[in-house]
Subunit: 383 residues, 2 copies
């Protein structure tokens, strides 16, 4: 097994790209990543995407994107793991390079969600849940997270407003990220005034429906170009859990996230204390809290307390959503896992501008499919 | 890179499984394959599937199938490459084992297409074509293959009835396969009477819409159990081409299939002359003809002639569809590539019953996404 580095990154501003088709959306960050990597040759392309079939009537994105990018002929497939599809595609690329099957691999996460009406995207997203036992009961993803958040508040005695720091932090960081969807400030007061979506989940607790694409280029670590600091993939791990919430031993413990994180810690030879920043899967505030707990940054029931104590900001003990996270940068589902890793690379290279985490050397990204059923964790390290 | 073997196989009878859900459908061959492999431990699961989101409202099959199979926690994702999804999943499993990332990998191909009305499956299948430039013009897959077949007849002077041997051979072989959907004999006469679907493609030129699932267990070659002859993966290759037919240099040359086959020949150190049988992607008769040509078994324009000369039967020079192929065994799209490989293993183990190809030692399977845009080729070898 060879050491693998991320030698190029690219990203598109997340938003509503009404005038841009799926393949065009994928192309921009793909070319930017190749340019950043100073690389023209590619052995394989892995595309992370969840909803192109349902929302744009197009499957078969591997060949489609490869051809449109001028890479006709190369190996190309799509990888799907619900909202974890982006990092799952990265994981495949990592396996191919680490194992010696390929030298240069492109990973592109792309999702186009806004050509459709809101209700359709919501019902498409529900395909990440258990169709027979959750969705058939009318549970959308917002509803499932509403149940989780309500239970968390009940078990640990939190109030709804205690969740505000997740949105406040994400939006404060998003303000300085030109690729973020939102450049609006959120305060505890505006959080409290936000429209309720699925009580107790309000608008500021939820990541938006949007379009976006991001890309990275992987290669053996010794191939890193001279122009940017090499960033090594120190760990790559996937773990699963039950898809349906009611099948879990404890709905407030993301066992898949814990398993995935601890597999990654073992591979990288580090523990939570050595992680300088954590790009977590804050699709909903409750997911951010549970992720912090599962990955060992807070004890059970104390993820929200960590946020209340100011420890998740770029100056805190464990900075999260440092470029805006799913909430403010946006959550184009199949692309999100790649955005997270692109942002980690920005931080580890020292290219994160006003949001730079001081002396960031080791960063972790965790991309979650469904309400915790597929969890992909990557730990990156500045060489 | 380690040598990889297929140490277990499992398959479900292809058909209309109205009483079986998606996860149940996947479970039966999965357990059969583990049993066949004499294996309980699994490191990862790759699921090949194309249409579960569109047709059953369920994405996220990696975690769903893993959990239902009692494998909660393991690494599991879905791989999609249109009708080539099954072999694309196998390819991922191969990369993981060959590169040393995993020791024991389960690959399951599953597709459930018959819960819906015919038109819906046809429009879902069209998502393998180019949504913007083919499907928007009203071209379904049957129509695209109709155009191809018409052009082939025009260029090379064939008549429609010259394509009959593909259906005759597939159905003759399917008669002896208990897992095949159809156990009906097709003659040149019944072929000539078959209902026209998209002129000149008739019902006997087209593979059926159906449900099915198949599974294999991969492991390092030295792990093969003693109870069955070890079958080694001698080559695994993927290549792509333009998704839209009109973007190809010559619509009658499957460049992706040729590239994929020749990459595989190079890896395995064999040529077409050393392949004892070829499980090709006969979704349509014209695809069978073009595949034979692309893989070097017939010259350009002579694929149909090869069939007319009787060379594609189990006694011929290059037996194809030896257990019924996509036409008679059936074509549950995301499962097909795994069925093909399961059948190769049956042949190489000498377990193919009345359809046994004498002294089969090297077999090739080729699974095609779309009208030739993603082509995955595997060459298996009896050790």
């Amino acid at each position: 097994m060879r050491d693998v580095a991320i030698i190029g990154i690219g990203q598109t501003k997340v938003g509503e790209h009404w005038d841009t088709g799926l393949r065009h959306l994928a192309l921009e960050p793909l070319l930017a990543a190749l340019h950043d990597a100073e690389m023209e040759r590619v052995d394989a392309l892995y595309v992370g995407n969840m909803l192109s079939g349902e929302l744009t009537g197009q499957e078969h994105l591997g060949a489609l994107v490869a051809d449109f990018a001028g890479l006709r002929g190369i190996e190309a497939v799509k990888v799907e793991a619900a909202c974890g599809s982006g990092a799952a595609a990265l994981r495949m690329g990592y396996i191919a390079v680490a194992g010696g099957m390929a030298d240069v691999v492109l990973v592109v996460g792309v999702e186009k969600m806004t050509d459709m009406l809101g209700p359709q995207a919501t019902s498409a997203l529900a395909m990440a849940a258990d169709a027979d036992y959750e969705v058939a009961q009318g549970a959308s993803f917002v509803a499932i997270n509403g149940l989780l958040m309500r239970r968390y508040m009940y078990e640990y005695g939190y109030r709804q407003e205690d969740f505000a720091p997740f949105a406040v932090n994400a939006h404060a960081n998003g303000m300085n990220n030109p690729y973020a969807m939102f450049h609006i400030s959120v305060t505890p007061e505006s959080y409290a005034r936000a429209r309720m979506i699925a009580d107790p989940v309000n608008l500021m607790d939820s990541a938006p429906i949007c379009d976006g694409a991001a890309a990275v280029v992987l290669a053996p670590a010794e191939w890193s170009p001279s122009s940017s600091a090499p960033v090594r993939i120190a760990a790559s791990a996937v773990a699963t859990d039950a898809v349906a919430l009611h099948d879990r031993r404890d709905p407030l413990v993301l066992e898949g996230a814990a398993l995935s994180a601890y597999k990654a810690y073992e591979q990288a030879g580090v523990g939570p204390g050595e992680i300088d920043l954590f790009e977590l899967h804050d699709a909903f505030s409750i997911m951010a809290a549970l992720s912090l707990e599962a990955a060992g940054f807070a004890r059970k029931g104390e993820g929200v307390r960590l946020a209340l104590e100011g420890e998740i900001t770029t100056q805190g003990r464990i900075p999260v959503a440092t470029m805006g996270g799913l909430k403010a940068r946006g959550h184009p589902v199949g692309a999100t896992g790649v955005y997270q890793v692109v942002e980690l690379v920005q931080q580890l290279r020292g290219q994160a501008g006003a949001n730079q985490v001081a002396n960031a050397r080791v960063g972790m990204a965790q991309n979650i499919g469904g309400s915790g059923a597929t969890v992909i964790t990557h730990i990156l390290e500045r060489a």
